[in-house]
Structures are given as C-alpha cells and as structure tokens.
Symmetry: C2
Amino acid sequence: MPIGTFEVKQKSSECAARSGKLVTAHGSITTPVFMPVGTQATVKTVSSEELRLVGSQIILSNAYHLYLRPGMEIMEAAGGLHKFMSWDKPILTDSGGFQIFSLATLRRINSEGVEFRSHIDGSKHFFTPEKAVEVQRKIGSDIMMCFDECTPYPCTHDYADRSMKLSLEWALRCKKAFMEGSPLYGHEQLLFAIVQGSVFRDLRRESAERTVEIDFPGYAIGGLSVGEPKEEILSALDVVTPLLPESKPRYAMGIGMPEDLWECVERGVDMFDCVMPTRNGRNGQAFTSRGKVNIKNAEYLRDFGPLDPECGCPTCKGYSRAYLNHLFRAQEILVLRLLTLHNLYFMIKLADTIRTSIESDSFLKAKKEFLNKYGV
Amino acid sequence: MPIGTFEVKQKSSECAARSGKLVTAHGSITTPVFMPVGTQATVKTVSSEELRLVGSQIILSNAYHLYLRPGMEIMEAAGGLHKFMSWDKPILTDSGGFQIFSLATLRRINSEGVEFRSHIDGSKHFFTPEKAVEVQRKIGSDIMMCFDECTPYPCTHDYADRSMKLSLEWALRCKKAFMEGSPLYGHEQLLFAIVQGSVFRDLRRESAERTVEIDFPGYAIGGLSVGEPKEEILSALDVVTPLLPESKPRYAMGIGMPEDLWECVERGVDMFDCVMPTRNGRNGQAFTSRGKVNIKNAEYLRDFGPLDPECGCPTCKGYSRAYLNHLFRAQEILVLRLLTLHNLYFMIKLADTIRTSIESDSFLKAKKEFLNKYGV
C-alpha cells in the first residue's frame, strides 16, 4: 500500500475507538500506538536494540534539539537520523514549535516566523514554516509535523484566536514547502498538521475544519497538556476528533499517562507520545498493572519480587524490587535504564491491550478492568 | 573436577606465560582472564545480560561496599550476590582491605583488625579477618580474598615489613575462620591469599614464601598499582610469581591496562581486574586495536566509522564515532554504557588473544604485534 495510507481495521460499537494501520517508508504501524520520546537522537538511557526489544514501533524525535545539536550539517552527512542513531523503524519529528516556546529564550514571533536563542549556548536562530520543513527533511523523519505556535495556557480567547490563525497560515506554508521539495535520502516522508485553539471550543472547531480543508495525511491535536485541567484536554478532543476525517490517523501530542490512553482512544485518537514513562522512570516511578510504584521507597528494601509480577519486560524478568531499590540508593545509573525499559514496555503493551480490546469489541469493559486494577 | 582445581593447559616455551582453567562452583574460567569490576553489585552502567553478551567469565565485587550497602541482612535475605544481581557465573570478592584503606575515613588499625568510618554516612565499623570472611560468606562469592592491609606507597622498609607480617597473621586467621565455617547458599567457596611487601624485594619474597606455606587454592599479588612506577610492579611480579606454586592461579590485583596484561602474563599471572576499562569508558576514552580514542574530541564530530573497525562489540556494530561524540556533547548517559561495553569487550577479547597466543606458543610475537599496533 502507498506510503501514508491509513487503514481503519476495526471500529468499536460503543465509542469512537478504532484500531488501524499506518504505512510509512520504514514499515507499518499498528494503532493505537505509543511513541517513545527520543529527544536528542536517543530515547534517554536506552539503545536502539532495546527499543526494538520492548516492542517500539515508532519513536519521536525533536527537530529543535537536533537542529541545535548535532546540527543539520552532521545530520545530512550521517544520511539522516535513522542511520545516525541506528534505528530502522519509523520516526516522527516534532517541528520545533513546542520546544521553541518551552525551552528557547528571547523569542520574538511575527507572521514570518520565530526568532529565538538556543537554550544550549544562547546563539540566535530564526525558524519559519519553510525552515521547519527543511530541517525535518534533513532529519529524514517518516512523519514530519507542521510548524505551529503552541498556544500557551492560560490565554485569552483573542490571543488563542490569533495564535490559531497564525498556525493555520503556517500549516499552509509548510504544505507548500513540503510539496515543492523532495526527500533527501530516497524514502518518502509525510507531513501531518496540528489543530490548535487552546481550551476554546469554537476555536478548536474552526482550527480543525480549516486544517482539514488544507488536507494532510494525518492530524495532530496540539496545545494539550500545557497546564490545563484534564477535563479541558478531553473536551478539546470531544470537539476536534469528530471533525477529523475518519480515514486519517489522529495524534494527541504530549499525551499521556496510562489512564489517558484509554480516555483518548475512546474519543478516537490513534497515536500518542509522552515523556512521562521515561522521565518518571528515571525518577524511580514504575507503572505496573496495580498502579504506580516508587521504587526508592524503603518498603522495597527487602522486596525480592519483580516490579510487576504480570510483566514480561527484561527488567521484571531479571531483577527484583530490592535490587532496583539498592541501585537507586547506590546511585548506580543502570537503574535509570531498567525503569525506563519497564515503563516503555508497559506503555507499549498497554497500547496492544487497548488495540486487542477494540478488535474484540470489548473496549469499555477492558478500560474499566484496567482502571480498577490500576487504581485511578 | 573438584572446585578449586586449577589446570595449567599450556605453558609458553619463551617465558612464564601459561593458559589454564580454574574450576569454581559457578563454572570454569579459562585463563588468562580479565574480571570486570562490579563494585556495588553492578558493573557500572551495564546489565548482567550485557556482561554475558561481552563474554565476561567472572566479575569482581567488593565486600566493603556491599557490607555498607545494601548490607548483609538484605544480602542474606536475597540468597547472596548471584541472585541479588542476577548473575549466575563466578564472582570474586575483594575482602574490603583495599577499600578501607582507600575510601573509609578515620581508620584505626591494630593487630585485631581495623576500625573505620563509612565513606557513605560516617557510621563506625570494625573489620577483622574473621569478619571479612563472614561478610564474603554472606555475599556468597565463588572466590573470597583474605583480609589484608594494603601497604601504602611510598612507605619505609620498616613499615612495609610490619604491614606485611600483619597481613600474614591475618591470612592465617582468615584461613582458620574459613575452615571452621561453611557456605550459606549450598555452593562451595574458595579463599585466596594476598602477597604484600610493597616495593621491597626481600619483603615480597618473604611474604610469598610464608603465604604459600599456609597453603591456599590461589594467590594474589596485592599492593600493586598504588602509585608506584610501573617498573616496580613488574619487578614485584618478577620476584613473587616464581615463588608461587605452578599449580595454583595467580592474580594481579587492580591490574591493568591493555599493555599491562601482556607484561603480567609474561611473568606468569593468570587473573586481572581493573576499573580503568569501565572508568575510562565513562570518561570518553575507548581502547581500540590502534590505541586509545577520546571520543569527546572534535575530530570525531563527522567520523561515521565505528570506534574500532576490527571490533565486534555491540557498540561498534551499531553506532558511529560521530553518534557517540554527539551523545557525549548532549550529555546522554547512553554513551557511558556504550563505551563501557566496548572497553569490556576489548579487554575480554584481549585476554582471549593472549590465551590463544600461548596455546600456539607464539606469545612474544603476538605481544610485539599488539603493542606495535596499539602504539605503546
């Protein structure tokens, strides 16, 4: 099937949940899918082999970070990110929009683009929609994202309106730049758009409708998880997903925790990324079938069972809670990886569980069972 | 063959080098052998599976560190270190002598033992030869070491004499305590002794002869690599190894760098441990067939070849110098592991190369070839 094809395999009879398959130049992805975050050309602590081992179908990386370091000259010389980091499955890149607004300093935005200073060395840069496409072309990601302004929260309706319209303009320019160029490494890339509009239902609606008019092979819902209450996230999805074409994948950017996946899939979302599984892992928090475990707690000093008795990940197969607790106390960095691997495996298996429940049309029952046991 | 058996397989016709096999409760070790250092129940950055992957036959751990953290109560509850860290091959433990003299504070030594304060929390402890054996029994190492005073360098002949004689007394007491007790986890342990005497040939001789009289299944040469010039190390070996029984394994504690292995094997040493391959790796230094590479250097920014084109380690198979350089610059801890794995693989393969050269009786030729290429 042509690259960019999205096949809806099964739809829930109870809600908007669906399972599907997205075709990319580096293979097909079954959805719902959780994408581990590899900000700087590595999912922190984890090797590419280990990403394969825990079942990652696709990872996310960041145009902003890679643009600053190692830089596009080295990225091009390497032949793109797949070769650079030794990962031959799909990669999605964020355009840099979110990072410029959350990490960079001294931002000056106008309709042309954004001037900002690097969070690493203070050097000055100017990003435009065209530049974001060019950078992502040099990275060679399978899925690039449109350059947008990630609307801050809270903000006024007026600000959100102008911001959303700017992102729409930029989406048009991204598509134009995308259509006019061609891939650098011989594999086809896709360009997804991002729906904005903050917590305002009318703006979310307008953003969704007008973005769809431009026509993209996939749509993200952006500006989520930026500090707003969780109900606002779900409410935004309630407005947006019904307006998105059923035949295109939908991606909730920056979502989510285990419980969030269920809520979002129920509303018709197919793709997710979130730093929490990896970041929380590095802080000692493991996701398990019976809820969260903070492995640093003294109660695990003498607990010789695995993190999660129902888990088949390399960490649970090899190591006890007592050992992981010891590694944390002894400040041995091996433990950062062991918890990261466990949490990634947990999220990836969770997406599998959700998909299976859709395919047997028992999504709501499976959701209830999971949440009861997980204790949310 | 009974546990503790050491078979000399092949002797060089040109020098004291020999290959052999040592039988332990967790399997046999072929010698010469390099033992990765797993101070705190982990070889820093590396999982037990990865130790197997790079070919580790045996690892070293430290009674001092494990005694302080996680402590012997947890170690016993875990069923010993093998189970605790998920490693089913041989383990050798250092008795704590070296660490008490290099890490602990406020040491007070008398003929009974050493009082010291923990480098972690300042708590007060008292180690005796009997205590060191008890701790190592609780750890369950395949090879425990006698408790000794690691003679500092430089020191007077008089100090070295008294220190060496104290270590001899303690070796006797260790052996007695060892013989009177029994293993805790159903597998047989071995007790090796340590020859001291600093840089004084007469003292090294006396220490070797009197330690051999007590009779142990293996002998270490201790007090090496504590700041003395390298010639002093080799000179100590020149004195000591001819006095050690040919039918017992010989272990040069804390040695060495790649070039050191050749020098020591030439003088009849069989076993090695050293933190340099792992520590230097974490600092960005890789050992390669053509010498050392500091991967942080700018010259590797655009070098898309592997660390060592002749290497078959997971790092060299998967990643380029440019990528490793990027990870260091981006402060991604994955790189600490990738370099550690490479250096461990290098040392383990080096020991294999040395063994093979002995078995084809071409040790000196192989040594010359290695050192020429390595550039020492």
